[in-house]
């Protein structure tokens, strides 16, 4: 059984399928290529990228991944609160690779 256990350091693939043709992507632009930590395995759900086009949609593992907003925005804005901020994003397994 493959998958990412909570605590695993992962990277979001720096891929942009929407530039290659019609696509429906639920991985926000701001985390593409970013590193984060798996917080929780949320379950398995039908791939929205396929559902959006009425294609057969296999179930894919969904993870809650924690990111550091300071690393993502690389500007002064995220420094309020002295960096004590987090971003949690639901990411499907096909977008994650070990960091």
């Amino acid at each position: 059984m493959t998958g990412f256990a909570p605590g695993t350091r992962v990277r979001v693939r720096d891929d942009w399928p929407e530039t290659r043709g019609p696509a429906h992507i639920r991985t926000p632009h701001y985390v593409r290529g970013a590193e984060g930590t798996v917080v929780r395995v949320l379950g398995a759900f039908k791939n929205p990228e396929d559902l959006a086009f009425a294609r057969p949609a296999p179930r894919r593992a969904l993870y809650h991944v924690r990111f550091d907003p300071g690393a993502i925005w690389h500007d002064g804005r995220a420094k309020d609160g002295r960096g004590r901020n987090d971003l949690l994003v639901e990411i499907f397994e096909q977008w994650l690779e070990p960091a």
Partner: protein, 193 residues
């Protein structure tokens, strides 16, 4: 094609007429669906929060399985997306957003507020959460961690806010009455009036 120019109201009338003729969606079904949706409201979420504040076992269930916790209070969740509950604590505050569209725990809280769906909210929540919630007058200590949760997939998220001081002997009904819509999104914090 003409879709770009056609007024939304006209499109709705035309589409409704066609779907009724085809037996797909009748006027009665639409009315019934509106009535069902109208039953959900922030008050349902407030009841869950008040129960969690007074019952540690319910709090644990709410955090572990939000949908089951909602069902326990008579909120229908069958066929609905799973409910995720984000528990605030001293030094930890959550803020919910859907940057890609407007995902919201509708089965519990009802329709999302107008501002939740706006470009300003969607852009700012993940980048300047403190500045954003300051628009509601919410100021957090600098030592508090703000965790912004972007609803990008199947879960729908609500915040379980902290119970205000000075409410120790309050009933659940009294507690539920002070929990507002914004408290369960994270733009405000429950206050004792």
């Amino acid at each position: 094609m003409m879709l770009q120019e056609t007024d939304g109201e006209r499109l709705l009338v035309a589409v409704r007429r066609l779907l009724e003729a085809k037996g797909i969606a009748s006027t009665a079904e639409i009315a019934e669906r509106i009535a069902i949706t109208d039953r959900a409201s922030p008050g349902q979420g407030a009841r869950m929060v008040a129960r969690a504040w007074t019952d540690p076992d319910y709090r644990a269930l709410m955090v572990e399985d939000g949908s089951k916790a909602a069902e326990m209070l008579g909120i229908p969740m069958r066929g609905m997306p799973p409910l995720g509950v984000l528990q605030n604590a001293p030094g930890l505050h959550h803020l919910v957003v859907c940057t890609l569209c407007s995902c919201y725990p509708r089965a519990v809280l009802g329709y999302p507020p107008y501002w939740f769906k706006s470009a300003g909210y969607r852009a700012r929540a993940v980048r300047d959460p403190r500045g954003l919630i300051a628009e509601w007058g919410t100021v957090l200590p600098e030592t508090t961690k703000v965790t912004v949760v972007d609803s990008t997939a199947d879960y729908r998220w609500m915040v379980l806010p902290e119970r205000p001081a000075g409410t120790e002997d309050w009933t659940e009904t009294q507690l539920a009455a002070i929990v507002r819509e914004g408290d369960m999104i994270g733009v405000t914090i429950p206050k004792r009036p």
